[in-house]
Amino acid sequence: MKIVVCVKTTLPSEAQVRVEGGQLVFDNTPQIINPWDEYAVEAALQQKEALGGTVTALSLGNEQANVALKHALAMGADDAIRIGDPALAAIDTLAAARLLAAAIRKLGGVDLVCFGRQAIDGDSGVTPAQTARLLGWPALTLASAVKIEAGQIRVERSIEEGRQIVTAALPAVLSVVKDFAEPRYPTFMGKRKADRAEIPVWSLADLGLPAPAALVTWGEFSEPPRRTAQCEMIAGASPAEIAEKLADKILAEKIL
């Protein structure tokens, strides 16, 4: 099995993000691997352990992307590749998918590509399906359980109504949700290996692609509307009295 896991570097979820003059301002929180992508690395490593083969971590971006790649290496990925080029400053999801698909083709012989369900910065969650589409491979998204046997993959997908069980022939693209399995912690040896790793960079020229034109551009940022309402504290002599008052307040909002 030749497995690729696509990872991204993001701000951690506890980071404060503010807007000043239409621009984003971050506090100095160190960046991390996108939390969803840890599940993708775990999924990739489990398949390797079950079936043999290699796991290659792939990311897209400037040197910050190495944070996610080194985390994947520390968890147990065999090698890592970064797609990086000065012409890739602002790209949309489709351009990102095109670059990832080109890198996966260049690697050659890939059986399985794993993604996290979405990145916690852009929150789009469409890159796995778009990458699959551009490769012409089936997309098995939102997978919470995966079984591979004799070149066939079977996944349970988390949908609004419960789970959908889908099968396909490899190669395929997978995106995994949190139900999948707790991601393992990097090992001491893994961290040492990741620290020493020289991660190769593939440019647009290496991938044989022109500079991408973004179909979607990001404009101004703004803060979500502040909740202006002061919190009205409901008190009373007994839980029943408090509940009575609170129920009246809720009903007066006319939202039920």
């Binding site: 999801t93 916690i120 929150d123 589409r133 109504e161 179909l215």
Partner: protein, 326 residues
């Protein structure tokens, strides 16, 4: 302006968020509902009832189960031939995926999970929450067509008027067979993204005298479930209790769970970490019940109760049951 609206459904039952997209399309131009599946007669009538000017229909046994590749190929072939200006999708698991693949097929721009949308030069301009809802960004899509998925409950649902009708045009089925569906396991209860009311529990649910954390959580979530049932709502949870294994991940609200906008959000024993607030602060009314008067959740709540949720929640269930005549 010619607008196509992808109607998401499960086995012929449309998800209400599809009608919100139809309502937006009607305000912007001519709204054609695109319906892919099998045995869709009732769903087609519902689309007209909710305002569709016409229906584009692929009703075929090959589309009986949702399969991303077949649905996207059918939609993108029709869109390539008939060149609509704008395609709207509800941000559901299926809507997001079909939109993603169709955008790739058409080499078109895609705006995901937007909460506001306008059509102006140089194209479609949308606002959407990013960084888990901590900030909003304006996005511009200059391609034709533009593809947009709409966040559930961000746009008003149109009134249903029974008995409306209009032209139904068949579109060609592209029954790709890259994947096959082996079955389903369905879950009980209301889905979080569609819920008008969410009753949510956090770490406060794990503290009850004489009980271990697991038993306390089981007792607490049972009480939350009773309140949710009276309000036809769904049960949510903070990351802490999901990570501890006390409730499945499908219930998690917050930056690494579901981002929700219900009319009423009742937070029980949830302190209000920034990741949780990002996922629920667009709720219309927030009620917080917590033993700690300094919990950050009270800063976003309209109504607060400092008290023991194991006592307040059942009392609230009883009071609302009586007042709602249930």
């Amino acid at each position: 302006m010619n607008i196509w609206v992808y109607i998401d459904h499960f086995k012929g039952t449309p998800l209400p968020v599809s009608w919100e997209a139809l309502g937006l399309a009607k305000r912007l131009g001519n709204a054609a509902a695109v319906m892919l599946g099998n045995h869709l007669d009732e769903a087609v009538q519902a689309a007209f009832d909710f305002g569709a000017d016409s229906v584009l229909l692929a009703d075929d046994p090959a589309l009986a189960d949702y399969r991303a590749e077949a649905f996207a190929s059918t939609l993108s072939a029709a869109a390539a031939a008939q060149t609509p200006d704008l395609l709207l999708f509800p941000t559901t698991s299926r809507g997001r995926e079909v939109a993603a693949m169709t955008a790739a097929d058409l080499n078109a721009g895609l705006l995901v999970d937007v909460t506001a949308l306008e059509v102006a030069a140089p194209g479609v301009v949308a606002t959407r929450p990013v960084y888990g809802g901590k900030v909003l960004v304006r996005e511009v899509c200059a391609s034709k067509p533009a593809l947009v998925t709409l966040r559930g409950r961000a746009f008003p649902k149109p009134e249903q008027q029974t008995g409306r009708s209009g032209p139904v045009t068949k579109i060609e089925v592209k029954a790709e067979t890259q994947t096959s569906v082996a079955g389903y396991t369905t879950s009980e209860g209301v889905s979080l993204s569609d819920a008008n009311v969410i009753v949510s529990g956090g770490r406060g649910l794990t503290v009850f005298p004489g009980l271990d954390e697991k038993s306390a959580a089981a007792k607490g979530f049972a009480l939350l479930g009773e309140l949710a049932a009276v309000l036809n709502g769904a049960v949510g949870a903070s990351r802490a209790v999901v990570d501890a294994g006390f409730i499945p991940y499908a219930h998690q609200v917050g930056q690494t769970g579901k981002l929700v906008s219900p009319d009423l959000y009742i937070a029980c024993g949830i302190s209000g970490a920034i990741q949780h607030l990002a996922g629920m602060r667009t709720a219309k009314v927030i009620v917080a019940i917590n033993t700690d008067p300094h919990a950050p959740i009270f800063q976003v709540a309209q109504y607060g109760v400092v008290g023991d949720l194991y006592q307040i929640v059942p009392a609230l269930t009883a009071a609302l049951k009586k007042k709602l005549g249930k």
